[in-house]
């Protein structure tokens, strides 16, 4: 199984026609778990309460609250799934192919925050998130190496 991945890595997979089901599955998982992780961290930090006092004793209290929050651990778990899926898909698919897909997270995170946390999202913020998605997608489609052309 692992050997097959190593062989695939030599063939750039930029054509959407020969996408493997595992690639599609991971490309869907990456932005969902990345965004969900941040939303869960936000949910957890709301439970911890606003961090105002930056003195060492109160930071220790905040840290204890953070580490005992189930939502925070769910968020960290979700970000771990994101990170492992991201590394896996990058081990056989081109970065320029993966990056625009993961950029979906910049729109997905506000959407999930709106749906799951009930955040009021102003219109200009949606437009800004869309700009960021397009910008990151454009950056991802440009040649990766700029220090020396092949």
């Amino acid at each position: 199984m692992k050997q097959a991945w190593l062989c695939d890595a030599h063939v750039p997979m930029t054509s959407s026609r020969n996408l493997l089901p595992k690639t599609i599955a991971l490309l869907i998982l990456v932005p969902i778990f990345g965004s969900l992780g941040n939303v869960l961290l936000g949910k957890g930090m709301r439970g911890v309460g606003e961090i105002r006092d930056l003195s060492v004793p109160s930071l220790a209290v905040y840290l204890l609250k953070i580490l005992s929050s189930g939502w925070i651990w769910l968020g960290i778990g979700s970000l771990l799934v994101f990170f492992v899926s991201y590394l896996l898909v990058l081990s056989w698919a081109d970065y320029s192919y993966v990056m625009p897909v993961t950029a979906v997270g910049y729109v997905l995170a506000p959407l999930l925050a709106h749906l799951l946390l009930g955040e009021a999202v102003p219109g200009a913020r949606w437009v800004g998130a869309a700009f960021i998605f397009l910008g990151v997608a454009l950056v991802g489609r440009t040649p990766p190496s700029t220090t020396g052309q092949i």
Partner: protein, 123 residues
């Protein structure tokens, strides 16, 4: 004001952590052999690299600053705003690492910067 201070810490320490970890891994060399024993050897060299520890410390700082930021700011603001790291990363790569950044890439980064500015304005 405090929001932008913490946002700056998240973005700068996150990008700094990426650069430090990249520097450490470039010194260690490309990982080509995925046999368990070879990977343990790589892990040993990773743990001895000062740059790697600096990178890990900066990434930890970025993570805890992000948590602090999320304790008072909305997720729908924080996540898009942290996209500023693309712009900071490209500027850092150009001036610190002397990488060339293509025009198409600057165009994309300009869109990202405009998006971040909109998100910050609509806070």
């Amino acid at each position: 004001m405090r929001t932008f201070l913490f946002l700056a810490i998240v973005v700068l320490s996150g990008t700094g952590g990426d650069i430090a970890v990249t520097h450490a891994m470039k010194q260690i060399g490309e990982v080509k052999n995925f046999a368990p024993r070879a990977l343990l050897g790589v892990l040993g060299r990773v743990l001895q690299s000062g740059w790697m520890w600096l990178g890990i410390a900066l990434m930890a700082l970025a993570f805890f600053s992000l948590l602090a930021l999320l304790s008072w700011a909305q997720v729908s603001f924080v996540v898009p705003a942290t996209a500023a790291n693309y712009v900071v990363g490209a500027v850092g790569a150009k001036f610190l690492l002397k990488e060339r950044v293509s025009q198409a890439r600057w165009a994309g980064l300009l869109l990202v910067a405009a998006g971040v500015a909109l998100v910050c304005a609509a806070r």
